[in-house]
């Protein structure tokens, strides 16, 4: 019996006193109650102030109690834990609000009519109209940009991984990295400077060129990562059979990594689909349907959102349309993202056995 008593005692002497698991909740409840009391007593109107007082009380209370019972090091640990949680909650609030508001306001006017009509005969401040012309423009511009950007990006990645040695490869790697950071408006200005030289009017394909510039470095980086995951044994086996390098790349390396490459390209499409600035400079926007990306101003979804917001002088109808277009754009981007990640998981590169 005495033996058992000693065994039961020993851990507590070794570990020192600890607060019970429920103590954070108790301190939280206590500080909330006190904060509510202070708020009522001082007649503070804003509930945010109540919350702030409660949060401060919680931090002070945790530190005080933990320092008394567990020691100061443990108290600091608890403070750090609560701060990390606070940061997390702080960050979640705006992000949740963004998604919530977009969905809630977006569904108001989002229907089949909205998706299949243009703004051709509708003034910006009146209700009605739709985003068909913008969707059409966006799809064409993004498709053209992908047709230019994706092959160049993939080929560059192949060069870097399969052939690249020496200073050219180093320079390309460095500038691809730097290129990822080019602001989209600068890419737009670059194409604009070309258009000014040749005295051209805005048209869809000019926007595609700027989008392609923004897309290339992203494709290069993701493809590079994927190609590096292909085990060398596969390449060596193929080369050892006397198969030329280019066929090895086309028939062994690319098929092995095609899932990851597709994912990278889709993610980059999702990124350029939301770009507004270059489209604003180069494609200009157009309330009418223009299916020809090589002539005349076109619309695009992100640009449509911006113009509905900025050119409508605060009309509710225009804001509703802007939210609905935002919801469409977010849905498009998110679906691309989810599908891309699905492909990545489904066709994960086979790395050895």
């Amino acid at each position: 019996m005495s033996h058992a008593a000693v065994a039961a005692k020993r851990p507590s002497t070794l570990r020192g006193a600890t607060l019970p698991n429920w103590s954070p909740w108790a301190i939280a409840a206590g500080s909330l109650a006190v904060a509510a009391g202070i708020g009522l007593a001082a007649d503070l109107q804003s509930h945010i102030q109540w919350g702030l007082i409660a949060a401060l009380l919680f931090l002070a209370g945790t530190y005080g109690i933990a320092a008394r019972v567990e020691g100061r090091r443990q108290a600091k640990d608890r403070i750090a834990t609560s701060l990390v949680w606070v940061a997390f909650v702080l960050a979640v609030i705006p992000l949740v609000s963004l998604i919530w508001v977009t969905v809630q306001r977006g569904v108001k006017v989002l229907d089949f009519y909205f998706l299949t009509h243009s703004m051709g005969v509708v003034a910006d401040s009146e209700p009605g109209g739709g985003i068909y012309h913008a969707i059409l423009g966006s799809l064409e511009q993004v498709a053209l940009a992908t047709a230019i950007g994706a092959p160049i990006g993939v080929l560059t990645a192949i060069y870097l991984v399969e052939y690249g040695r020496g200073s050219l490869a180093k320079a390309v790697t460095f500038f691809v990295d730097v290129m990822t950071g080019i602001p989209s408006i600068v890419a737009g200005l670059f194409i604009l400077s070309l258009m000014l030289m040749f005295d051209m009017q805005p048209f869809g394909f000019a926007g595609s060129l700027a989008l392609a510039i923004l897309m290339m470095p992203v494709v290069v980086r993701s493809t590079e990562e994927m190609l590096k995951l292909v085990p060398n044994e596969l390449r060596e086996a193929s080369l050892a059979l006397g198969i030329p390098k280019w066929r090895t790349i086309l028939k062994v390396v690319l098929p092995t990594s095609i899932g990851g490459i597709t994912t990278g390209i889709m993610l980059s499409i999702a990124r350029i689909a939301g770009e507004t600035a270059p489209v604003l400079l180069l494609v200009f926007g157009n309330p009418f349907i223009n299916a020809n990306p090589f002539e005349g101003a076109q619309a695009s979804l992100p640009l449509y959102i911006y113009q509905q917001y900025s050119q409508s002088a605060g009309s509710t109808a225009a804001y509703d349309r802007a939210w609905a277009a935002s919801l469409t754009l977010i849905a498009f981007v998110m679906i691309l993202n989810l599908v891309a990640r699905g492909i990545a998981r489904w066709k994960a590169p086979k790395t050895g056995r």
Binding site: I152, L155, G181, S193, I213, L234, I243, G274
Partner: protein, 334 residues
């Protein structure tokens, strides 16, 4: 020929066939290899050419504008490209860009690091994975949607904060407020912080995940608390990664166009207070002045874009240098 695809899982095919292929295709092989190498090297070179062309063309158009500028391009507080002779300068824009980015970084970096720590060290593993996934998705939300949200939702909600700052910190001058609509630098900074939070979180998370397990276990074995483990082994290891992540975020904040253009009500002067509307940023100025600009006005905007290009180039180049020291993590695919 399907031989090579089979090779991925099947050991050597029959010798006769591969021997045959080689003899028949020896000449074509060389040529094929050369064409393919040419193509892939060509696209690499094309990327370099594009970068060079961006610099050259922007500089050329900018020089057309700046040569006619009657003011000092770097120090003038005006943007009158329509005047004869034109007077314009980027001082206000440079100030606004730097201030809004500094506010954004001051808010975003600590919070992003805390979220990264939360995902890697505090949250239960499944919750951490889910949050990491959501943060990934949020990085994909287009900036114009952040802009719309900022202008229609965030701005009206800033009145309370502005009033509070004015009441208690108004005496500093930086936080005094004339009760105008809160479309000022502070709101822009907060919105930019929300926008760059995902990318900084993503890169920092990758770095924290690569902290050697042994370091953490050694600290734990010595009796360190979780916070002490983070302070002594995780943060020192991740410092350079966090710095480069922040600089990537800074690059985004500097070049952000639409979110600033929708939220800020611009003017061509420098406000001492962060709460009073006014000022502008490079990208915002280009987007809002573009429609009314003449060809000369566009050249002037291109000149301001060139300054932005050089600044982001420097920031990104520096970030890459820091990353290059530790090759394992690169933020480019984040």
């Amino acid at each position: 020929m399907d031989i090579s695809t089979q090779n991925t899982h099947v050991p050597p095919p029959t010798p006769q066939r591969s021997g045959g292929t080689r003899k028949r295709g020896a000449g074509a092989t060389r040529r094929g290899d050369q064409i393919f190498l040419g193509l892939s090297r060509g696209s690499g070179i094309l990327l370099l050419v594009i970068m060079a062309a961006i610099a050259v063309f922007l500089t050329y158009r900018a020089s057309l504008a700046i040569s006619k500028d009657e003011g000092n391009f770097l120090t003038t507080f005006e943007w009158n490209t329509g005047l004869q002779p034109p007077v314009f300068g980027v001082a206000v824009l440079a100030f606004g860009t730097v201030v809004s980015s500094i506010i954004a970084m001051a808010i975003a970096v600590p919070i992003a690091v805390a979220i990264a720590l939360f995902i890697t060290h505090y949250a239960p593993r499944k919750l951490g994975g889910a949050i990491a996934y959501v943060v990934d998705l949020l990085a994909a939300v287009p900036s114009i949607v952040y802009g719309l949200w900022g202008a229609l939702i965030l701005v009206p909600h800033m009145n309370g904060l502005y009033g509070w700052l004015n009441d208690y910190l108004g005496w500093t001058g930086i936080f005094s407020w004339d009760e105008g609509a809160p479309r000022a630098m502070l709101t822009v900074g907060i919105l930019l912080a929300i926008m760059i939070l995902p990318i900084i979180t993503n890169v920092s998370r990758e770095v924290f995940r690569q902290v050697p397990q042994m370091h953490e276990e050694a600290a734990l074995a010595l009796g360190a608390t979780r916070w002490e483990v983070i302070r002594m082994s995780v943060l020192p290891f991740g410092r350079s990664g966090v710095i480069s992540a922040s600089m990537l975020g800074l690059g985004r904040a500097l070049g952000e166009t639409m979110a600033v253009a929708t939220v800020l009500s611009p003017s061509f002067d420098i406000q001492a207070s962060l709460l009073n509307p006014g000022g502008g940023t490079f990208a915002q100025n280009i987007a809002s002045k573009f429609n009314e600009a003449t060809e000369f006005g566009r050249d002037a905007l291109i000149a301001s874009g060139l300054v932005l290009f050089v600044i982001t180039l420097l920031v990104n180049g520096a970030a890459r240098m820091i990353i290059a020291r530790r090759k394992e993590y690169s933020g480019a695919n984040a």
